[in-house]
Amino acid sequence: MTFRTFTQRTAIAFSHILVATGVLAAPVTYQLRVDGLSCPFCAYGIEKKLGALAGVGRVETHIKDGVVIVIMKEGFTLDEATAKKTVKEAGFSLRKLEPAQSAP
């Protein structure tokens, strides 16, 4: 095994370890089921409040389903207590917080 091959194999193995430990994992995405959300003008407040949280990369609201998708920046997570408090501050009620599929 040449030195170059050894280096390549080591790098690949190391990257597998990082992925396995979550260091290089894709950003975490959450689905918030929000009760009371029933008009476009109301959605602004909830997006503003959630968007201001540390580590939040993007917020998408689908009012038909009462769902707010929160895509975190790499290395950040969102806990239920914080989500519940933030949704309450926007004037609504959090029914459920659940991880969604990872962002592309």
């Binding site: 089921r33 009760d35 009371g36 959300l37 029933s38 008009c39 476009p40 003008f41 109301c42 959605a43 602004y44 407040g45 909830i46 997006e47 503003k48 409040k49 998408e60 609201t61 689908h62 009012i63 038909k64 009462g66 309450k88 501050e89 926007a90 004037g91 609504f92 009620s93 029914r95």
Partner: protein, 297 residues
């Protein structure tokens, strides 16, 4: 005429809370997010005409209502409303036509609203919010013209500290919204004149006309709006004597349209008095045209 003017203007007094996707002519119980602002600019034109008395009074009022709402907490919001009026009264006196006119900033109303009951479910919400406010005499109330001191109806301000309070109920779904409000405004004396207290019962239905079905994201809504305002005004008191030609009950019906997006709303409506049970001199015709926008930030 005083009663009709008062009924029309009293509607403007309770606009201060109407800053969300909400009725055009009165308040709502929908929230202002904590730390957030809602700005509303409302333009109105009111015509009061067809006076049957020899004075043949004809009054036209244009105005701009600036409303700023702030969410102190998720349940408590403060609203400030500052109007600007241009009031013109044409009349006949002694066979001569007479015009009395004044424009300027009106009285500032500050109002607090607390959400006392809230039930949220997927795609709908039910809220009840009492509110209490005070109207400060910031507008000019002793303006004069070449004839004399202008009558109270033409002054931009009332000169009095007044109190208003009430409660509003809102039921909102993705398809429609219903609002109902009861309110009372207690007027106090200034310059020897006290406008009669005003009690009001309001109802509003907003129905989503477009889009007929919702897709993903936050689509804009076009609401058809139908509102009713039942306004009872007590007799005015001038120099300690009740004015027999003041006070009474008016029912306004307001059809309108509202286009609602995530950031802003534009709207327009016409308030038409369908019932006028007034004391003393009755007037046949008047309307209030209103249009404006709201933004949140």
């Amino acid at each position: 005429m005083k009663t009709v003017i008062k009924a029309g203007l009293s509607i403007l007094c309770v606009w201060s809370g109407a800053a969300w996707s909400a009725p055009i002519t009165f308040n709502t119980a929908l929230p202002v997010h904590e730390g957030g602002y809602v700005l509303r600019e409302q333009f109105m034109y009111m015509k009061i005409a067809d006076d049957l008395t020899p004075a043949q009074r004809d009054m036209r009022v244009s105005g701009v209502m600036s409303v700023l709402g702030y969410g102190v907490t998720p349940d408590f919001a403060l609203f400030g409303m500052l109007p600007w009026f241009d009031k013109r009264l044409d009349m006949t006196m002694g066979g001569q036509d007479l015009t009395r006119r004044k424009s300027g900033v009106g009285d500032l109303t500050l109002l607090g609203r607390y959400t006392a009951y809230q039930y949220d479910a997927p795609g709908r919400t039910l809220r009840i919010a009492p509110f209490l406010g005070v109207k400060a005499p910031t507008g000019e109330d002793s303006a004069r013209d070449g004839f004399d001191r202008l009558p109270p109806q033409v002054q931009p301000g009332s000169g009095s500290w007044d109190v208003l309070g009430g409660a509003v109920l809102t039921y909102q779904t993705l398809d429609f919204q219903i609002d109902s409000q009861v309110s009372y405004k207690a007027n106090r004396e200034a310059n020897g004149f006290r406008a009669g207290d005003v009690a009001e019962l309001d109802g509003s239905l907003q129905y989503r006309l477009w889009p007929s079905s919702l897709g993903n994201g936050i689509p804009a809504f076009l609401y058809g709006v139908l509102e009713a305002n039942l306004i009872h005004s007590a007799r005015d008191d001038s120099g300690g004597i009740a004015d027999p030609n003041s006070g009474g009950t008016t029912l306004f019906i307001t059809p309108g349209l509202q286009y609602v997006t995530r950031k802003w709303i534009v709207e327009a409506g016409v308030q038409i008095p369908v019932v006028k049970n007034l004391n003393g001199t009755a007037l046949k015709n008047n309307y209030v045209f209103t249009t404006g926008f709201r933004i949140n930030f």
